[in-house]
């Protein structure tokens, strides 16, 4: 594109964003996908549009190439980010958000037709508008996904923290009820909180209750074995309780060797075994 044409296109666009802003907003609201607009309200939509168009107009003034505006201009980015986040919170799908940007593009292309008759300028300008708003659409999409990822990360963290309480069942007896799946990250957390608690409470028996663990495969068994051996290294005994019949069958079918670990079907049984172990020990001590 020649320099003079670029200037013409810029002039034209900034005229549209400035003088024709009201029309543009009217048309955008008309073409806006119905679902989220109902929740945002027309006034909200108009405010949003005015903010975005204002930011775009400012960006035109900075002389940044149009294709890089969404990438480099902070005001435009924050307007788009706000637009996407508001829709995400209102429960709009990411495609509806992208459609909102597409509606803005449609409104702009219509405005271009009104403002110039020169086919060459119109062509160049619509190319530019396309580039600008396509980048904007992609950006809103990625903001949406980022927001979701953030939520998932936070929930994952909360799950990790919530799901590993170490409870004291009796003097010198601790229990960890495991719930959900057992991967290496969770094993790490369970292990360290259990071992810290053993040290703090001078526990002699730790019970790992797997009633809430949905499936036991070789990896989960491996993690359990690791935890048991770490507990033993600390000098405490480790029992596993809550082995359901179906899980016992799976363990046998997979050929996992848990023979050197004491397993019980219920936490109550495990507690009884723990008391026996404690009794043996104190019995030996008091003679």
């Amino acid at each position: 594109m020649h320099g003079s044409e670029e200037v013409t296109v810029r002039d034209l666009l900034s005229r549209i964003f400035g003088a024709d802003q009201e029309n543009l907003i009217d048309e955008w609201v008309r073409w806006h996908p119905a679902e989220p607009s109902a929740r945002l309200g027309e006034a909200g939509l108009r405010r949003e549009a005015a903010e975005l168009l204002g930011a775009l107009r400012e960006a035109l003034g900075t002389g940044l190439p149009l294709s890089q505006v969404t990438e480099r201009d902070e005001a435009v980015r924050s307007a788009l980010r706000g637009l996407s986040e508001r829709r995400a919170r209102a429960g709009a799908t990411p495609s509806a958000t992208a459609m909102a940007i597409a509606a803005l593009k449609r409104a702009m292309l219509a405005a271009l037709e009104r403002h110039t008759d020169d086919p060459a300028v119109r062509y160049q300008a619509s190319l530019q508008v396309n580039q600008l708003l396509d980048a904007a659409g992609v950006f809103t999409f990625s903001v949406y996904v980022e927001g979701r990822e953030e939520i998932i990360r936070r929930q994952h963290q909360q799950m990790l923290e919530l799901s590993t309480p170490v409870v004291r069942l009796w003097r010198h007896v601790l229990a960890v009820p495991l719930i959900g799946t057992l991967d290496s990250a969770r094993t790490q957390i369970v292990m360290s909180s259990l071992l810290e608690a053993i040290q703090a409470h001078e526990a002699r028996v730790a019970i790992i209750d797997i009633t809430g663990v949905s499936t036991v495969d070789t990896a989960v068994a491996q993690h359990l074995l690791q935890t048991v051996s770490a507990v033993r290294l600390m000098g405490a005994e480790c029992l596993i309780s809550g082995v359901r019949p179906s899980i016992a069958q799976t363990i046998t079918q997979l050929g996992i060797d848990l023979s050197h670990i004491v397993t019980r079907s219920s936490l109550a049984d495990a507690l009884a075994t723990a008391m026996e172990l404690l009794g043996d020990r104190t019995g030996a001590v008091t003679g």
Partner: protein, 126 residues
């Protein structure tokens, strides 16, 4: 020759501890001194406090296993006490087993394992 690590004696039990900078020579001398004392003094139990150890690598693990095996040959039970949680996690993740080594949470529980009882719990204490 002494390894520079103190070895205390309580009745027929020896108590000692390992420090984090255990090298070949020290380990060898320590094993030597400990086994000699077990044999000479009729020792029945050995407590090894490792709460100062921040890392147990395969070398230290082997030293511990050899100490336990040697002690057993001489009729003494060895109990390793006070392993840190982080050390236990690393060991179990590396799959290093301390075969034949008995563990206890701290020195006191190790003493109990070896049959020692607190004076106030003894039947004729008062």
């Amino acid at each position: 020759m002494s390894a520079g690590l103190p070895i205390l004696r309580l009745g027929d039990i020896l108590i000692s501890g390992l420090l984090s900078d255990l090298d070949d020579t020290t380990a060898l001398r320590f094993t030597d001194e400990l086994t000699t004392r077990i044999a000479d003094e009729g020792i029945r139990g050995v407590i090894l406090d490792i709460s100062q150890l921040e890392i147990i690598d395969s070398f230290v693990a082997r030293v511990l296993m050899q100490l336990a095996a040697t002690g057993r040959l001489l009729g003494a039970r060895m109990v390793v006490a006070g392993m840190r949680p982080a050390v236990a996690i690393t060991l179990s993740e590396l799959g290093l087993r301390l075969t034949g080594v008995q563990t206890a949470l701290n020195a006191e529980q190790a003493m109990e394992l070896l049959g020692w009882r607190r004076p106030e719990e003894a039947p004729h204490a008062s």
